[in-house]
């Protein structure tokens, strides 16, 4: 077929042709489960989050954080809905991120050659935690105000490099200049996360085996992703409209008051498992150690797991990963309603189990199963 006998547009703009052949090239494996769509769903949700955040940022005023959120909810046309999208969108994204982390642990996809992909997902998770925390602080409620004050004073009490980072990030003691600064970080990091997502998809694509007799992206995986997307949207809609403030401390919906310390300075659910680990160790340095240690163990996972890379996960491993997930949920619930004696004891126990799992149980059982 000569160039000129092609349809007019294809002869002059061949990009469409190559796009079509890429979309339909039968190189993808058959039978990928629905949960394999999670990274794409997270990306889509983050784009949506960026758009709703853009609208909110037009009306948000960090000098008057709480009142401007009230203004958005009450006086901006459909501001309450956009705010709800942004708030519940966070819950949905963290739900999907926690689920995909659980899936990686369950399937052991962090083993060779998946280490870099695993590091990228962890970096994405940590960045999301930071963005999520900043968003929570921007609400400027009675609880998040105090959370920020504690965080800033904690950062300043550290000597050396960590303290220096605190100064650089928060720009001085908690005051009028802090929230405008954090609003900028919230937005910049929210854009930066798309760079990490790009790396994620590049790594995933490089690792995916190319099939000789596979299926094409379109229509096979596009239809699957669409179905997954609609179910995701359905859960999202149920939460937005019928459980709009799921997992939040209700006290945070009152205005910030520098003279009144709320009973429990507890963050939204997606930060609980991290913040509660911090409470299990005494002192600011202990909290920093606990949080850094908790995340560092996840980075060390490819080496803590002693099993052979290609071996499918055994029953014991799956059971332990399941127990770890239950432990994480219970750890989040333990101090959800503020400090209590029982809550403190349980927090210590569940935190101890988390470290015990990674440092002792996991290397031991995987070494046993490998034999």
């Amino acid at each position: 077929m000569s160039e000129i006998s092609k349809p007019w547009l294809q002869a002059r703009f061949p990009l469409l042709d190559s796009f079509r052949s890429t979309m339909t090239a039968p190189v993808l494996p058959r039978e990928k489960p629905y949960l394999a769509c999670l990274p794409i769903l997270i990306t889509g949700a983050l784009v949506f989050q960026l758009l709703s955040g853009l609208v909110l940022s037009l009306f948000y005023d960090p000098a008057d954080g709480f009142d401007s959120v009230q203004f958005i909810d009450r006086n901006v046309n459909y501001g309450w809905l956009i705010h709800g999208f942004h708030e519940t969108g966070t819950t949905m994204i963290f739900g999907a991120v926690y689920l995909s982390l659980f899936r990686a642990l369950w399937l052991r996809s962090y083993k060779a050659p998946g280490e870099i992909l695993w590091f990228i997902s962890l970096a994405q998770f940590i960045l999301l935690l930071v963005i999520g925390y900043l968003g929570y602080v921007l609400a400027d409620g009675a609880v998040s105000y105090w959370s920020l004050a504690n965080t800033v004073s904690g950062a300043f009490s550290l000597a050396g490099l960590p303290g220096g980072l605190g100064v650089w990030f928060f720009g001085g003691p908690d005051g009028a200049g802090t929230l405008p600064r954090l609003e900028v970080f919230h937005a910049v990091l929210a854009v930066a996360i798309f760079g990490i997502l790009l790396l994620h998809f590049a790594a995933e694509r490089g690792l995916a085996p190319r099939e000789n007799r596979g299926v094409g992206l379109h229509p096979y995986y596009t239809s699957q992703i669409f179905a997954a997307f609609v179910v995701y949207a359905l859960i999202f809609a149920v939460l937005v409209f019928f459980a709009p403030h799921l997992g939040e401390n209700p006290l945070n919906r009152g205005p910030a008051n520098p003279l009144v310390l709320p009973v429990g300075v507890t963050p939204p659910w997606y930060l609980l498992s991290i913040s509660n680990v911090g409470h299990a160790f005494p002192g600011t340095l202990g909290s920093v150690f606990a949080v850094v240690g908790r995340l560092a163990l996840l980075f060390a996972l490819p080496w803590l797991d002693r099993s052979a890379p290609a071996k499918p996960p055994g029953f014991l491993h799956k059971f332990l990963v399941f127990v770890l997930a239950v432990d994480t949920i219970l750890l989040s619930l333990a101090a959800m309603h503020g400090p209590s004696l029982l809550g403190s004891i349980l927090t210590v126990i569940f935190t101890a189990y988390y470290f015990f799992h990674f440092v002792v149980l996991l290397p031991l059982t995987t070494a046993l199963e490998a034999r």
């Binding site: 009675a142 699957q224 409209f241 006290l251 009152g254």
Partner: protein, 239 residues
Amino acid sequence: MRRLFLAGLVLACLAAPRVQAEDALNPPRWQSEGVFGTYDKAALQRGFLVYQTVCAACHSANALHYRDLDGIGFSTEQIAALAAGVKLSSGPATLDDGFKNPYPDPAAAAAAFGGAIPPDLSTIVAARPGGTRYVYNLLTSYAAAPGDLALLPGHYYNTAFPGQQIAMPPPLKDNQVAYADGVSASTAQEASDVAAFLTWASAPNLDVEKEIGLRAVLFLVFLSFIAIATKRKIWRETV
């Protein structure tokens, strides 16, 4: 058997609202409660009357404007008349004025109440665990202090308040307001109505939210059936 069960279920659903309408005070209930809850505008208007006569004497509600009251079923003329009756420092209030703050600044409020500033009521129901029910319980749980308890000066015993000692004097008593719709203004009725009004003040968009939500969820349920069926049909052709 199943049909009988279904018929019973439908009957139960039909009967449920009727029971609710008979007596919403024993035990206290609000129409806005539950997944499909909506506001009872009559209760909101009664609650606004209690708010305006009693609460507004000491509490601010800075996030609310008089124009917002069309959300509880008042007409623009009614709101304009209501607002005109409120004297601000700049003259009578208009539709676009915020609810009158009874104190010029927090220091004045603190001085008037021995340091306990009456909290802003715009988001009080959202910002308290238990929400509507907490406000109702707080307003109806004043009691005589037990003999062995020495109250702080200027405080009152209230079993619903954390710590049991509250600086707010018992605000409601029987027939403190006269309801236009003839409902008898017992303390419990006033507390229930004002709790309903404050629930609306915290979440004025609840009705629209439920309406849009129901449409969105129904649409997405159908769409997800179609999407999953399409996916299965496409994948069936691979082999």
